[in-house]
Structure formats: structure tokens, C-alpha cells
């Protein structure tokens, strides 16, 4: 494992070192120490390497990730794994707002709580949160899964498209066009798979499923007869 120390090396140099790796690199194990809340740590990785970050990170950690596995041994700031394409991003602590925002693929695991707008505009990413999520999570979520082992804040899944939401705890309130849907055997199986991938122990039978009522897909003329 190769260690990069952000107390000694600039963020730009650390990220450039990781960006220079080719897909067949032998340098597959990396450790970044002393992040001290720095923004944009390990963004834009494109090769299947494993990166462990020891400490708390700032904004946009592991954003745009492709193929890499990034683990934060701490908390993360706004927008962790935003626009993730593939690979795995894991936060051992809590994540601030907009975790995995607009993610297109891959897996994002927040072992603690995620704040507001978790999975906003998600487009295919799978997100598993060990704790709770804040308000407006999965806002305009288009595709992928959001699994919440704790509670969900107000306005969950507002204006949701075809993403699927599973919540084990209490939902403070559903957003516009988001409704509860039945858990079938197929959904239990999908959820079991997601929890297993995330390495989080929870019983899929205890979750409820939420998704789109599909009422916002088309212009809805309430008073057409009046004209």
C-alpha cells in the first residue's frame, strides 16, 4: 500500500498521482492520510484501484468516480461521490448534504447518517445508508436504489421518476408524487442483495418501498373543461 500524506503533499499532486495510473497499473492499494477536511480528495478516479482516506474529508470527495473503490475512514462534507459512474465509495462516518448527487452507477455506502438531499437527481447509482437521511432525499431521483436503514426526513422522493427507495425506519413525510408501494418477493431479493453488497446487516423484511406515482410525467390539466 502506497501512502500519500496531505500534510506533506499538495492536494493537486495527490490527485494527479492517482490520475496518472493506467487501467493495468500494479499500484492498486493507496492510503491518503491527513486530509483535514480538504475538498475534492480523490476526485475523478478512473481505474480499479483501492483508496483509503484516514480522516474527515471536505466537499466532493471521490466525485465522478469510475471503477475505483474509495473508503473514507471518517466523515465527509457536501457532495461525496457526486456523479459517481461506477465503483464503490464508502464513508465509515456521516456524510453531509447531497451525497451521491446525480450518481449514474456504482455503489455508495454511508455507514452513519447522510444529511439532506441524499441521492438528489440520482440516475442509476445504488446508495445504502446505515443510519438516517435528511430532508429532500432522492429529490427528482431517476434511476437506481436508495436504501435507508434508519429514518428519512421530510419530503422523501419529491418529484421522483423511476428510482426505488427502501426505508426501514420512520418516514417524516413523502414529497410530491412519491408513494408507498408493496414489497414483493422480487423487491426483498433486490434489497437483500444491496445490503449484502454494502456489508450492512439488516433484515429486508423490515423495510418499506417507495416510488413514483407517475402523476407528474405528463401535464395534468385540472380545469380543462372550463376552457
Amino acid at each position: 500500500m502506497i501512502t500519500l500524506d496531505l500534510a506533506q503533499t499538495s492536494l493537486r499532486e495527490v490527485n494527479a498521482r492517482l490520475h496518472a495510473l493506467g487501467p493495468d497499473t500494479n499500484e492498486r492499494g493507496w492510503r491518503i492520510v491527513n486530509p483535514r477536511g480538504a475538498n475534492a480528495v480523490a476526485v475523478g478516479l478512473r481505474v480499479p484501484i483501492e483508496v483509503e482516506i484516514d480522516g474527515h474529508v471536505g466537499y466532493y470527495c471521490a466525485g465522478m468516480n469510475r471503477d475505483a473503490t474509495v473508503t473514507v475512514n471518517g466523515h465527509s462534507g457536501t457532495g461525496v461521490a457526486e456523479n459517481i459512474m461506477s465503483g464503490v465509495v464508502r464513508v465509515r462516518g456521516n456524510a453531509s448534504q447531497s451525497a451521491a448527487a446525480s450518481g449514474r452507477g456504482g455503489l455508495v455506502v454511508i455507514e452513519g447518517d447522510a444529511s439532506s438531499r441524499c441521492g438528489i437527481s440520482m440516475k442509476g447509482v445504488d446508495i445504502v445508508v446505515g443510519g438516517s437521511v435528511g430532508h429532500m432525499s432522492a429529490f427528482m431521483a431517476q434511476r437506481g436504489h436508495l436504501v435507508v436503514c434508519g429514518d428519512a426526513g421530510p419530503d422523501l422522493g419529491d418529484s421522483i421518476y423511476e428510482a426505488v427507495l427502501y426505508v426501514q425506519g420512520r418516514v417524516a413525510g413523502l414529497g410530491g408524487d412519491c408513494i408507498e408501494k408493496p414489497m414483493t418477493a422480487e423487491h426483498v431479493m433486490t434489497l437483500r442483495g444491496l445490503l449484502a453488497q454494502a456489508g450492512i446487516a439488516a433484515d429486508p423484511a423490515g423495510f418499506r418501498r417507495y416510488g413514483s406515482a407517475r402523476k407528474l410525467y405528463h401535464f395534468h390539466a385540472d380545469h380543462a373543461h372550463a376552457y
Binding site: 477536511g37 480538504a38 474527515h56 471536505g58 462534507g77 453531509s96 430532508h135
Partner: protein
């Protein structure tokens, strides 16, 4: 975008190091606010029955000695002064209101940045590092401080438009965000008898809180009332005589991180301003919830 920070020591043995830690916190927010910076520091209490006023002079060679002497003669009280760059702290007998009235009438070019028994306010244009050096903030001791780095979006970049805004004795406010109903609220507060020194939205919020506190509200009640009366985006940190308070609006777009150990409580817009605090690796760290008032006070 702006950066805000607050540091409050529970352990008095750390008071001597307030400025050293606060410098690091404020510089950590340079990228969020390169236009101006400021600090309200709570220290060196004026003797019982006396008050401190922090004044700013736009002129380079302000005759502080002469002003202090004129003020002493006019009010027939003892006045001491202590100059720091283009600011000076005047300590006067009694509450500060007579001195403020005299200054407004006789030295209108001076601006009162803050007043009270404990609080001093230093703020100016420039990068946080420049403002810190100008006022020698690293050398300051004290029990607590709040600070701000400004990236201006809604009103001019001047010393007067910098934060913190002080509107009541030993009370000040720093703000990350923007208010959308500040014009209407300013009109309303004027009708209640409040006067304003700038067109800045945060000054309106500071005077709003001063008004509520003046009406008998507690800090918590004043902040909770703001959830109804203030429209816009905000993370506020309010400095008070014996502590500080934090409030985020219901949408909570503007960031905030809180950290607490047995020795201190700190807040910052981003964790990187907390990363150097002593014992931070053992701190409890969390994000304040939307629409929830957090307060800490000296025991």
C-alpha cells in the same frame, strides 16, 4: 458564499490560546470569503459599571487621544483608549449609550463596530490573513469568539459592510447566506425605532435579533422567531456575553459543522477550519439540523 467560525472554551486554561486557534480557523475559510474578514472577541471585561466601544476610523491618522479627552470632558467621565490599527477600544464609565450619542453628534466619521462589557469587534477589507495580521488577532486571549470571511453578493465591500454586525451590548451576528425580505424587515424595524448604518441584509438580521432581545426574548426565543420572520438562506452564528448560538434555515443549503470536546465547542462552515483544533480527533462532530437552535453558555 461566506465562511463563518465560532470557538468557545469550556476549559478556562485555554483562554490564552484563543487567538492562535482562531487565526487558523479564519484562514481556513479564506476561499469562502476573500473580500473581508472580521472577529468579535469576548475578553478583558470592563470593570463593573463601565463599557467598551470598538470604533473604526476611515482616516489613517485618527486623533484617538484627542477624541477620548473630548468625550471624557463632555460626559464628565473617565475614558481610556486602546488603538489597534484603524480601530480603537474606548472604555467609558456607565453604559455606552451616552458615549454613542456623543460620538454620533461630534465624531460622525467614526463607526461603532460593537459595544458591551466584554465584546470587541475588529473587521476590515482584505484576505483573512491580512485582517488577522492587521489587528494581531493571533495574540488575543479570551473565552470565545465568532468570525466571518465574506464573499460579497448583495451589498458593497467596505469595512462597514463586513461582519460581524453588532446591534446590542455584547451581541453580534455572522451570517452565511442571503435574506430576501430584508428591505421590508428594515422598514418595519425602523418603525419600531431601530436605526441602520448600512444597506446590508445581515445588519437587518442583527438588528432584528437586538429588537427581539430588547423586547424580552431569550436568545433561543429570538432565534426561533427568526424562523418565521426571516425569509432567505442562512446559517447564523450569534455571539453573546456568555456563549454563542447557531441556527440554520429550514432548507439548510448553507453548510455548518459543529464539534465539541470536554474543553471546547466550535462551529465552522466547513470541517477544514476545525481540523487543527487541539483534540479534534476525539471530538464529537455533527452537522446542525435545519431549523434547530443550538446554544452554548458558560456554566
Amino acid at each position: 458564499m461566506c465562511g463563518i467560525v465560532g470557538l468557545f472554551f469550556k476549559n478556562p486554561s485555554l483562554h490564552a490560546d484563543l487567538g492562535i486557534h482562531f487565526r487558523t480557523m479564519l484562514i481556513g475559510m479564506s476561499e469562502r470569503g476573500p473580500d473581508s474578514a472580521g472577529i468579535a472577541v469576548y475578553h478583558r471585561p470592563a470593570a463593573e459599571g463601565r463599557s467598551k466601544l470598538t470604533l473604526f476610523s476611515p482616516a489613517a491618522d485618527c486623533p484617538w487621544r484627542e477624541i477620548a479627552a473630548e468625550l471624557a470632558a463632555a460626559l464628565e467621565v473617565a475614558v481610556e483608549f486602546d488603538v489597534r490599527a484603524n480601530h480603537a477600544v474606548l472604555t467609558v464609565d456607565g453604559d455606552e449609550s451616552r458615549a454613542r450619542a456623543w460620538l454620533a453628534g461630534h465624531r460622525p466619521e467614526l463607526r461603532v463596530m460593537g459595544y458591551g462589557r466584554l465584546m470587541e469587534v475588529y473587521k476590515d477589507k482584505g484576505l483573512p490573513a491580512q485582517v488577522i495580521a492587521k489587528f494581531d488577532i493571533a495574540a488575543m486571549e479570551g473565552s470565545h469568539a465568532v468570525g466571518h470571511t465574506r464573499m460579497a453578493t448583495e451589498s458593497a465591500v467596505t469595512t462597514e459592510h463586513s461582519h460581524p454586525f453588532a446591534a446590542a451590548p455584547d451581541m453580534c451576528l455572522v451570517h452565511n447566506g442571503s435574506l430576501s425580505n430584508h428591505n421590508r424587515l428594515r422598514q418595519w424595524l425602523r418603525r419600531q425605532g431601530m436605526s441602520f448604518e448600512t444597506d446590508n441584509d445581515t445588519e437587518v438580521a442583527a438588528r432584528y435579533f437586538a429588537y427581539r432581545l430588547g423586547q424580552g426574548a431569550t436568545v433561543i426565543q429570538a432565534l426561533e422567531a427568526a424562523l418565521v420572520d426571516l425569509d432567505g438562506f442562512y446559517t447564523f452564528t450569534m455571539g453573546t456575553r456568555d456563549g454563542f448560538a447557531v441556527l440554520r434555515d429550514g432548507i439548510a443549503c448553507k453548510p455548518a459543522v459543529l464539534a465539541e470536546t470536554d474543553d471546547w465547542v466550535a462551529m465552522a462552515s466547513e470541517f477544514r477550519s476545525l481540523a487543527q483544533l487541539p483534540g479534534v480527533e476525539r471530538a464529537t462532530i455533527w452537522e446542525p439540523r435545519p431549523s434547530v437552535v443550538y446554544t452554548w453558555t458558560l456554566q
